[in-house]
């Protein structure tokens, strides 16, 4: 529970600022107090306390003068794989932080354009959040800086890879967090912490300034306490960007307005496994059933669907993301920046030692896997085949969403698990992503939202998958539940 009383929505902050009952400085102080109160959660790799307070003071003056931007009072935490000019960025890795004290951590020379749009409207960034190394992980145990603990039950994982970002919102350290979602890294921690997490359509938000894990899967995502905050932030971040050729040219919807309106009657597909599979915890299945009832009560129609391709989701996801990651992470070579071995070696030794010392085991595992599936002798058997299966998975999702507006399913098979439960078995850790990877494989938007708790008080999260660029519809529906 948060100590300092800070409003839990940006709407509430705005009105408190407007009626004078709050100042931006007091708001930031409140967040800083909450951050300081629970250092053991290991959420933050760095807090920009002084900088945030200085900006808050300046903003209070602008508010007085009536010249503040629309996002004055929005205090953001950044997953540490997002670039913020003149600030360190490490992706939770020693390869950028340096594995020896004499190596200075990497400092980004630019701000991600999508984040710059928030800053231009007077949002404030309060710090860098811990995460799984390069976004690879489902429990935040893969950070070079130690795991983040779940704020609700510190014996449990916060989820990953945007674990710090989810706990920060849940525990009142910032208004919203920006994370990244390559296979569920925003939605799964959101579900494990009882908040909302949006993975937008691929290409809706520019990826420039997001440290790449798997380029054709990566999206910047938003974690917040409510749909309205996500809508506000998405509306500013989304849109074309000359720095990212995969960013969509499509005009940006008025997410905030749509989110605030009651959705018309929708046809909602419900994944059978979410209701019936033994592999899904009973409490999660019950939450799905409850939500179906609620949806019908609100006038929506639901029907149960199968995902024929379900068994192929994870293999496809891991083959393709590992392949892209093995190439994306080649730039971390110890030559121009980041960690460089201090062993006396030749060029090949420099590469091998720098990368061996800098990367953690999960990253190494995926680089090796990716290198393998791209190698000449195995390329067709793995990479080419996975690309074909990806197309089939996309076709299946398109077919379902041709007859339905949304697809409802759990985010994870169960609530946040205990530390150490899966960390010794990478395969069972991989399996935790079974429901989340689909949205990334097909590039469609998905929103995780909380639906209640287990008897132990752990939050349960479900997700809705929508057609490309229907973020507004997803937010409106979740908001109405």
């Amino acid at each position: 529970m948060s100590l300092a009383l800070v409003p839990t929505s940006f709407d509430a902050i705005r009105s408190a600022l407007a009626d004078g009952s709050l100042t931006v400085v007091r708001l930031v102080e409140g967040y800083l107090a909450n951050i300081s109160a629970r250092p053991e959660l290991n959420v933050w790799l760095e807090v920009f306390a002084e900088e945030a307070l200085a900006k808050a003071a300046a903003l209070d003056q602008k508010l007085q003068a009536g010249t503040a931007g629309p996002l004055a009072g929005l205090i953001i935490g950044l997953k540490d794989n997002l670039c913020y000019q003149d600030h360190v960025v490490t992706a939770g890795s020693k390869i950028l932080a340096g594995a020896q004290p004499e190596i200075k951590p990497f400092v980004s020379q630019f701000t991600a354009p999508a984040i710059k749009r928030l800053l231009d409207q007077d949002a404030i960034i309060i710090g860098r959040q811990n995460c799984d190394e390069f976004g690879m992980g489902s429990s935040n145990e893969n950070s070079a800086f130690g795991p983040v603990l779940n704020g609700i039950d510190p014996t449990r994982v916060p989820g990953g890879s945007s674990g710090g970002s989810a706990v920060a919102v849940q525990d009142g350290h910032c208004t919203i967090s920006l994370g990244s979602d390559t296979g569920g890294s925003v939605r799964q921690p959101a579900a494990y912490n009882g908040i909302l997490g949006l993975k937008p359509t691929y290409g809706r938000i520019s990826r420039f300034g997001l440290l790449a894990y798997a380029s054709s899967f990566d999206t910047i995502g938003i974690l917040a306490n409510n749909a309205a905050d996500i809508a506000t932030v998405l509306g500013v971040m989304a849109g074309p960007d000359g720095m990212d050729s995969t960013a969509s040219e499509r005009p940006v919807d008025n997410y905030a307005a749509v989110t605030a309106t009651k959705p018309t009657a929708k046809r909602i597909a419900v994944l059978r496994n979410g209701l019936e599979s033994e592999a899904v915890a009973a409490s999660t299945r019950a939450a799905v059933a409850d939500t179906v009832q609620k949806l019908e009560a609100l006038g929506h129609s639901t029907s149960v669907v199968e995902l024929e391709m379900l068994d192929y989701l994870l293999p496809t996801y891991y083959v393709l993301t590992a392949a892209e990651a093995s190439s994306n992470l080649s730039r971390y070579d110890g030559i121009r920046y980041g960690h460089r071995t201090n062993k006396e070696v030749d060029l090949e030794g420099l590469y091998k030692n720098s990368r061996a010392e800098g990367f953690g085991p999960e990253v190494k595992r995926r680089i090796m896997l990716g290198t393998f599936v791209l190698s000449a002798n195995y390329y067709d058997a793995y990479f080419t085949k996975a690309q074909r299966v990806r197309r089939l998975i996309r076709q299946e999702a398109e077919a379902i969403l041709a007859n339905h507006d949304y697809l409802l399913m759990p985010v994870a098979t169960d609530v946040a698990f205990k530390f150490g439960e899966k960390s010794t078995d990478p395969l069972s850790m991989f399996l935790a992503d079974v429901f989340t990877v689909q949205a990334n494989v097909v590039g469609m938007p998905a929103l995780a939202f909380p639906t209640g708790h287990t008897s132990e008080g752990m939050p349960i999260g479900l997700q809705l998958l929508g057609r490309p660029f229907d973020e507004a519809g997803l937010l409106a529906l979740a908001n109405s539940l």
Partner: protein, 485 residues
């Protein structure tokens, strides 16, 4: 018996041409030769975390231009690939290239090797890619230096079929490729600066044998001449090995310009697995018909078309057409003269004669010539009108114009007092005087020594200070000599 009597020489050439775009292929960094090391580098060139490539549209346009000029099929659906390998001058750890969908396929290059017959060399493909930076390993230095100015500079790679059979053909092929990129203004074609680079694949097979021998790739030639030397050396080296019953290992060799020899760089057996896969950071590019038409319309006149025009419409000899189309600048200059005169042969003579030798003497290019094509046409008219002789025009008027005078050729001729004067009637008494002065020479003429007319011409020119129209004068002299009893 020489090696080429016993062995067939099989040569394929890969040409890398740096494109003359203002900025790099996937960033807005300047594409400039000769900047201070590591001056043209941004976070994108440096492959900083979080950066993404963005395509320079000019690269695509230039690659398509080259393809259209060489009669290639243009690929409609293009995507980029990553070629993965580690090297300090490759910041991303991969090169963005095209593996599966080269922008251009097939196509042909017509070569005219010196002393050989014209021949068509088929192309396999042309694809777009980015250059790597430069590594410098200075003698005596422990550290290597990296200059990333070149990293990300756009290239097209032009790959020929293995249809080149002699070093001379290789030379002629490269000459054609260079001429084409220069005509299209997409590459400066400068081998010394590395903006045009040729990797040559060479293999030998015994005459009559169908299957090819093991091929050796030779790199690092910085001139066409050195490409020939490298090929000649490889023929020598490989035939000696084959004669001795040795196997030719498939390998990459470097040419050393000082020794004229090649030395082994790496074996093809230990070849890198480049793990090509589609570049996910760049959208595939679809070339639609409209875009293709726009680029086609923007193509300049190409050498072969100009050659055909010069020999056909202008009626010039093949030799003239060849010289005049050698570079685009000369061809354009000549064409511009021909817009103002119909005496095409005279225009050709002027360009190939006085203009070229003047440029050669001063090692200038034709764009630097201070005389405009209109002015050359005006000189031609002056000669054609009988106002000055060609030789006077070339020796007296041309230098004045080249020195930058603002006067017209006629004004120069007037100022120098070299305009041809005198009608036949004016000249008749002078000729009569000369004839009277040289009775012996007249007798010689009468006895059939017609060449003696030149002596009378010389006397006439002396008397008129060179201002007589030589054609008219020599006709007059002959007539008057014939009239002598």
């Amino acid at each position: 018996m020489s090696a080429t009597d016993r062995y067939d020489l099989i040569i394929g050439i890969e040409v890398h041409a740096q494109l003359l775009t203002a900025s790099k292929a996937y960033s807005s960094d300047a594409n400039e030769f000769g900047s201070m090391p590591n001056e043209n580098i941004s976070t994108i060139t440096l492959a900083h975390p979080g950066t993404l490539p963005r395509s320079n549209a000019k690269v695509l346009e230039y690659a398509i231009k080259m393809g259209l000029a060489l009669g290639c099929e243009i690929t409609e659906y293009n995507y980029y690939d990553r070629k993965n390998y580690f090297y300090p001058d490759l910041p991303k750890g991969y090169q963005i290239t095209q593996d599966k969908t080269p922008i251009c396929r097939k196509g042909q290059v017509l070569i005219k090797p010196k002393g050989g017959v014209p021949k068509v060399i088929n192309l396999t493909r042309i694809h777009m890619e980015e250059d790597a930076g430069k590594s410098m390993h200075l003698a005596g230095e422990e550290d290597s230096l990296i200059d990333l100015n070149r990293a990300g500079v756009p290239l097209i790679e032009i790959v020929s079929e293995p249809e080149i059979s002699t070093a001379e053909e290789a030379y002629a092929y490269l000459t054609e490729i260079r001429r084409m990129v220069r005509y299209l203004d997409i590459c400066d074609g400068n081998m010394e600066e590395g903006s045009l680079r040729a990797d040559v694949n060479i293999s030998l097979k015994p005459k009559g044998q169908v299957e090819f021998g093991k091929k050796v790739e030779v790199k690092n030639m910085n001139s066409f001449r050195n490409v020939m030397r490298a090929i000649e050396h490889e023929v020598e080296r490989q035939s000696t090995m084959l004669d001795a019953g040795e196997e030719i290992p498939s390998e990459t060799r470097m040419f050393n310009a000082e020794t004229g020899l090649t030395y082994s760089l790496r074996s093809k057996e230990s070849l890198n697995d480049y793990r090509y896969f589609p570049e996910p950071d760049l959208q595939p590019i679809v070339i639609d018909a409209a875009r293709l038409a726009t680029i086609k319309a923007s193509l300049p006149a190409l050498p072969q078309a100009l050659y055909d025009k010069f020999t056909g419409q202008f009626g010039l000899p093949d030799y003239d057409a060849g010289v005049l189309t050698d570079t685009k600048e000369v061809a354009l200059f000549f064409s511009a003269i021909c817009e103002h005169t119909t005496n095409y042969k005279a225009a050709s003579n002027w360009v190939m004669g006085p203009v070229k030798s003047y440029l050669n003497d001063l090692t200038m290019s034709i764009e630097q010539l201070p005389i405009s094509p209109v002015t050359i046409a005006a000189i031609i008219k002056l000669v054609d009108d009988g106002k000055v002789s060609y030789s006077i025009a070339a020796q007296r008027i041309f230098p004045e114009l080249a020195n930058g005078t603002k006067e017209s050729p006629l004004e120069v001729a007037t100022r120098l007092n070299i305009l041809q004067e005198g009608t036949e009637e004016d000249l008749m008494p002078i000729v009569a005087d000369i004839i009277a002065k040289w009775p012996q020479k007249v007798a010689e003429y009468k006895s059939g020594k017609k060449g003696i007319v030149g002596m009378f011409m010389g006397e006439l020119m002396k008397a008129t200070k060179g201002k007589s129209d030589p054609k008219m004068a020599s006709a007059l002299i002959e007539r008057m000599l014939d009239q002598q009893a």
